[in-house]
């Protein structure tokens, strides 16, 4: 079955929000084309992860699963490294919460790239995360991370309503980091304490090469933001991205720099595609030919 490259097959991926699994008791889902059953183990209070057998009927246990940050994580192969680390979530004063999961009919790599994208904010999220005529994107820096992945710093966008507690518009400083092929995080200035940053991570579950579930993890400073408001705000924002993502052709992300035209503002997107190509990521991508 494992035609999927090791960098994905032997890594950890989110497959469900724990709160939903505890509520529903049992969830059927798919990861990297592999059908899974997630269910509460009634005797021990744990969680059982089963995968459909490839050669016979029925299901068998999946080797590795873990609960972290309010989500259930699964590794279908042999874990080569730990679950991605978010240091902010360990800070006790912060509010770590899942902001929900959204199924999108597009490659998860397209969803990650959209999350990194600055220049759509004034159009797709107009009135919230951007506003015309503040459309110009100033130069920002993109560098590789030591463990693989990329980091974009010095990103600055004028935002009329940057978060559920933002009262007025202001220039927001962003840092973006792609930590794994399907994991991306942003740090943005808090509206109350602009020198400190709120964190939002997009943990993308590759369902098939052309469908994904985007799980949102938020880690906010405690100023007035309550989990329900954060969740509603993030789902509203992602609801604006979804119809855009589902209208991208092709559905998989082309890695060749000649496939789609990029400009300077797309520096992080171009670096992301290069990183995927170099790391040998093929699932959800159209490889350079």
């Amino acid at each position: 079955m494992s035609a999927v490259e090791s960098i994905l097959w032997d890594d950890w991926h989110v497959v469900a929000e724990l709160a939903r699994l505890r509520r529903d008791g049992r969830i059927a889902t798919t990861l990297l084309g592999q059908a899974l059953i997630l269910q509460l183990d009634s005797s021990e209070g744990g969680i059982e992860v089963l995968r459909k057998r490839s050669t016979a009927d029925g299901y068998e246990s999946v080797g590795a699963s873990a609960e972290r940050y309010g989500f259930l994580w699964v590794c279908l192969g042999t874990p080569r490294r730990p679950i991605v680390e978010f240091a902010e979530c360990a800070e006790p004063e912060r509010l770590t919460a899942s902001a929900g999961s959204v199924r999108v009919a597009v490659s998860g790599l397209r969803a990650v790239e959209n999350f990194l994208d600055l220049s759509h904010l004034a159009f797709v999220h107009e009135g919230y995360l951007g506003e015309q005529p503040h459309t110009e994107i100033q130069a920002y820096a993109v560098e590789p991370l030591a463990d693989g992945g990329i980091i974009a710093t010095g990103c600055r966008v004028y935002q009329p309503k940057a978060s559920p507690v933002a009262a007025a518009g202001f220039d927001v400083d962003y840092i973006y980091a792609v930590l794994r092929p399907y994991v991306v995080v942003l740090y943005k200035a808090n509206p109350v304490e602009p020198q400190r940053k709120d964190m939002i991570a997009l943990l993308v579950q590759p369902v098939t090469e052309e469908t994904c579930i985007a799980h949102m993890l938020t880690c906010y400073l405690p100023h007035d933001a309550e989990p329900g408001a954060i969740r509603r705000f993030q789902q509203f924002i992602f609801g604006q991205d979804r119809p855009i993502l589902e209208n991208q052709l092709p559905k998989r992300l082309p890695l060749s720099p000649r496939a789609e035209i990029s400009v300077r503002a797309d520096k992080s997107s171009a670096a992301y595609r290069r990183y995927l190509a170099t790391a040998g990521v093929r699932y959800g991508a159209i490889a350079e030919t």
Binding site: L118, S119, H120, A122, F123, V124, Q132, P133, T135, E136, I137, P243, I244, N247, Q248, L249, P250, P254, E260, I261, S262, V263, R264, A265
Partner: protein
């Protein structure tokens, strides 16, 4: 396939609306600039692949929904990139514009560049005596989508008194009024059936009546034709 295909009725392509269709598996965005000229473009922005059919027509330009890039009617040339508003986009930065034109009440497009105009009966069609439609003396019918191959649709149409002029064009001379109890569709000079191959198993039938149906009979006539076309569609789809 180097030829003209009808891709939309002219009256359906109005300023402010971007019409989505496809031709031989290629998605197309059809739209009309403020100048009145029609465009048939590959239905994806060259920047990040978003369908241009969800974009917005602004005067003589189409604006992509994702990043607000603007493309000029006619050439497809990118005229404005909001993330770099003071820079002029390069001449090579264009939406892919296919050849397009209007004739006989339809927008026509070709995936290969063409500088001629579409004609009916089509050039090189089989020798059948047919009346060429006259611009301005035409009634276009509601186009009907059929979830079947072009050949399956053509075969079904050929069960009537229909001649096939070429692979994509059929014609009814002296409409068979047997079973159609409606004077409005009788004594029609000629009806052309123009087949638009969307994909291998999806076809649109465009019907072009070679006369202006008088106003008093127009609604009844259009309904009678529509019922026949729906009958063709249902028969073909059920036979699959």
């Amino acid at each position: 396939m180097d030829r003209w295909f009808p891709v939309a009725r002219s009256e359906e392509v109005r300023p402010g609306h971007v019409f989505q269709t496809s031709l031989l598996g290629q998605e197309i965005a059809v739209w009309r600039g403020r100048s009145g000229a029609v465009n048939a473009w590959e239905n994806r922005c060259p920047h990040r692949g978003v369908r241009l059919s969800i974009g917005e027509q602004i005067e003589n330009e189409l604006r992509c929904r994702y990043h607000g890039w603007r493309f000029a009617s006619g050439s497809g040339q990118c005229t404005h990139i909001p993330s770099h508003p003071t820079q002029k986009p390069g001449a090579a930065l264009c939406a892919t514009a296919y050849s397009s034109t209007e004739r006989y009440g339809y927008v026509w497009a070709s995936l290969q560049p063409r500088d001629d105009v579409p004609s009916l009966p089509p050039e090189g069609s089989v020798a059948v005596a047919v009346t060429p439609p006259v611009e301005g003396a035409i009634t276009t019918l509601r186009s009907v989508y059929v979830a079947a191959s072009l050949e399956a649709v053509a075969e079904r149409l050929l069960l009537g008194r229909v001649a096939r002029l070429d692979a994509y064009t059929l014609v009814t001379e002296a409409y068979d009024t047997a079973g159609v109890d409606d004077a409005a569709v009788a004594n029609i000079d000629s009806v052309y059936w123009l087949l638009q191959p969307l994909e291998p198993c999806a076809t649109v039938i465009h019907g072009l009546v070679g006369k202006l149906i008088p106003a008093a009979q127009r609604l009844a006539g259009l309904r009678a034709y529509n019922a026949r076309l729906i009958g063709v569609r249902d028969a073909v789809e059920l036979a699959r």
